[in-house]
Subunit: 133 residues, 2 copies
């Protein structure tokens, strides 16, 4: 048996050995968002069917308004924000959960004085987003 | 398009509309553990490939010592504890992440004065656990 089990230590919304990346590459509209892939795609892990990422949006920042066929499972762990889901919108705070249904336009915004941070789990094999101008 | 998107409001480590269940049924060894299924299996959701559950272990309690072929992706969100991974063991605290590799015996214990709470995501279709006596 090949034991690749591990603990990723947390410190200040960073994790041991997990790089902080730009949210997206390319010319798409967003502001002040970073991405850290925590579990499911790291070197040495067996492939999961899913990937757990941590996104952080600085105060005043926002994610791309987009839609896709894969659903999102989100758990907020830091800060305050607002999520748009289709034509509805909701205030969110730690540890609210958000389910984004396939095909529904969605966008996250940080509305407080500290960053909005959330875990977002997705299927490992998934369609790409359609950006909504 | 059928928009089943939703926000599950958090309050006191309970979530709107999410029942608190016993951790396991049957005659298996564990103490003071509850389970709440947050995302991925609720009525009205499209099926994900994965399920996000929240487990809470009361002070002095522990989960079953077990192994299985599906991996675990764990993020601690409350309390202090210790996780056994094969023949290793680690202290864990919010927001440490734990990857449990396929086939590796594992057990969680709450070691502080408050409950140990963690998110645990698994493949929706998965093998059952082998309990280690």
């Amino acid at each position: 048996m090949d034991d690749r089990s591990k603990v990723l230590r947390f410190g200040g919304f960073r994790w041991d050995g997990v790089p902080v990346r730009e949210y997206k590459t390319g010319d798409v509209p967003y502001r002040d968002v970073t991405r850290q892939t925590l579990l499911g795609e790291a070197a040495g892990e067996e492939p999961f069917s899913f990937v757990t990422r941590y996104f952080e949006i600085q105060p005043g920042g926002y994610s791309t308004l987009e839609r896709h066929q894969h659903p999102h499972a989100v758990v907020v762990i830091r800060g305050r924000g607002r999520v748009m889901l289709g034509d509805r919108s909701y205030e969110i705070a730690p540890f609210d959960c958000v389910y984004v249904s396939p095909g529904v336009a969605h966008q996250f915004r940080a509305t407080g004085d500290e960053p909005l941070g959330f875990l977002c789990t997705v299927d490992r094999v998934r369609d790409g987003p359609e950006v909504i101008p």
